[in-house]
């Protein structure tokens, strides 16, 4: 069966849902980070699929921006997470609640 645009979109929705669920239920900062990446790439998938469907280059351009920003975010975010883990091994995100109101 030839994959249609709809199947790409369904896959993207599934991936986004997995990412969002993971973000809400997991406590390991590294895993939560991966969930965010999953959500970002699910969105990328919808961009690419719809760009092909409508023969419009703009969707692919947006994907490039998302990837660049995601890369930058990974650099910063991973740096923060690693330095937290060094200082407090085994810390979960619930332990990092110093800024609560």
């Amino acid at each position: 069966m030839e994959p249609t645009t709809t199947s790409y979109l369904v896959l993207a929705a599934l991936l986004f849902g997995i990412g969002a669920t993971g973000l809400m239920i997991r406590r390991n900062p590294l895993v939560m980070f991966m969930c965010i990446e999953l959500m970002l790439n699910a969105v990328n998938l919808t961009f690419v699929a719809l760009a092909t469907r409508f023969s419009d280059i703009d969707g692919q351009t947006a994907v490039f921006f998302v990837m660049v920003v995601a890369a930058a975010e990974v650099v910063v975010g991973l740096g923060i997470i690693i330095s937290i883990m060094r200082r407090r091994p085994g810390a979960t995100v619930d332990d990092l609640a110093e800024l609560k109101g």
Binding site: A20, L23, M24, I25, R27, M32, V93, D94, L96, A97, E98, L99, K100, G101
Partner: protein, 642 residues
Amino acid sequence: MLDVIWLVPALPLVGFLAILLFGRRLGEPGAGYVAAAAVLGAFVVTVGAFFDLLSLDEHHREHVSVLFSWVPVSSLQIDMALLADPLSITMALFVTGIGFLIHLFAIGYMHGDPKFSKFFLYLNLFVLSMLMLVLGENLLVTFLGWEGVGACSYFLISFWHTRESAATAGKKAFVTNRIGDWGVMLAMFLGFQAVGSVSYSALNGAAESGALASSTATGIALLLFVGAAGKSAQLPLYLWLPDAMEGPTPVSALIHAATMVTAGVFLMTRMNPVIAASADYAPQIIAWVGALTALFAATIAVAQHDIKKVLAYSTVSQLGYMFLAVGTGAYVAAVFHMVTHAFFKALMFLGSGSVIHGMHHEQDMRRMGALRTVMPITAGTFIIGWLAIAGVPPFAGFWSKDEILLFTLASSPVLYVIGLVTAVLTAFYMTRQVVMVFFGEARWESHADDHGAHGEFRPHESPPIMLFPLVVLAGLSVVGGVIQLPSFGIIPDGWRHRLEDWLHPVVEPGEAVIKGTAAYDAKSWLALLAIACAVLGIAAAIAVYAKGRAKPFEPELLARGWRYDETVSAFMGGPGRRAFDAVARFDSGVVDGAVTGTASGVRSVAERLRRGQTGFVRNYSAVVVAGVLGILIWFVIIRGVL
């Protein structure tokens, strides 16, 4: 000397600074001489300026000297500028001239005071402020001087501030004057709003050309009169002046008789076109307040025992005459009476100072008597002052009072009768004072025990430095009338209305206004009537106090000044105080409450909202997801977008 008119205020300023920096080193009597020399210098410059103005054509007798731009704020442009014209030079002449004489007197009077140099510091500051007041080219410069003289008056009334009564009197004067200052400030704002300038030429020009609306002119005139009533001690704000006698006597003579208290009259005269442009009731209010003050204060003076209190109430009464003149349009007469009053009232205050000095600080007239034997010069000069104020020709006071009464009759017979009754009372209480102090039997010997520290108590004549000013002022009180003699048959033409011709550019024609009225035609008879009144008052007082033909009529009510003071205190202490407390409560409760209530409301709401900031990332993400789901449900299911 017109080009260096700035020297007039600058010299007292230099004197002030010199005493400020080196006062303690100058000591006594050096500081006094420095101060007196500064004022004498100012006097000499003023005389020079006077002759310069005199040599000019009548319509060009006005010299504005701009020192610097003071308040340059877009449309509000106010210069620090001095105006030398006949009115301001007249004022400056007697401020510096009499000021110099009083400085000399004070050198003798303040002898031995531990704060000798500080006294002259304030005195020079006062002269500086007074000169700014009279020479100012706009209302703001005048107001600077106005506040300056007020502050100096406060310093000098409470000069002996360790005495509770002196400190209180100073505060009273200051607070009462603030009410007047409020009026002057509002008048200034109103003038600026209407004309866009506070300079006299602009305001008076607008009033003369009719550009100033009658209602605005009325507002300005009445607000200025509030200020004048405060500064010049008119009803209902007069009550600070009798208390101001707590200050040293030279201060009473300089500030509270000759110069500062006439500032209100000066201001009204300066703004006379505005008064002319205002509604008819504005000058009438001024005239009535003046007349009632004159009568009211004269009745109080009849029953006073303190030698200075009599003179103080007399000053209030005479200032009432000046406002009566202003209100009836007799500006020349007002200025004339201001000048002659400055001569004889300064003379009598200095004379009373000489008596107090000779009596070792005894002020109660019931303990004096027969002082003419021990203080002949003081007594002689004081008697000249008495004849002048009582209105006996040819002394100075007769001419000025007569002119005021003439204008009053032309405007209202009721006011004239009040003025005449006041004249009788004036002659009466001044005679009473002279008899009690200088004639009769010596009552001071019976109180010799009170002065045991001095050993044998004996009053003594004052030193020459105190007598010299008395003699000069006595001379001026005799001949002061020549500056404005009326147009009677026997007086040569060249001697008539000198002051009126001199003031003509500033003040609208004087006698022309009432020419042709019945009062003007009967002026010789009016003068005789005024003389009869003076003689009546004098004779009555001699009969009562010298001959003992009748028991003195001095009811308690009058001695306490109609209980006006007590009434004001009772009101301010009782209902007034409660009203102010209520206002304060309203302020702290409602006005402040609105502000603090807003702040505390925001705070308590924020207190609750911050609970939402849990610090748990998963919590936040759940909220975001819930929000996204909510938006999706809204668009897809409810709005049916897809």
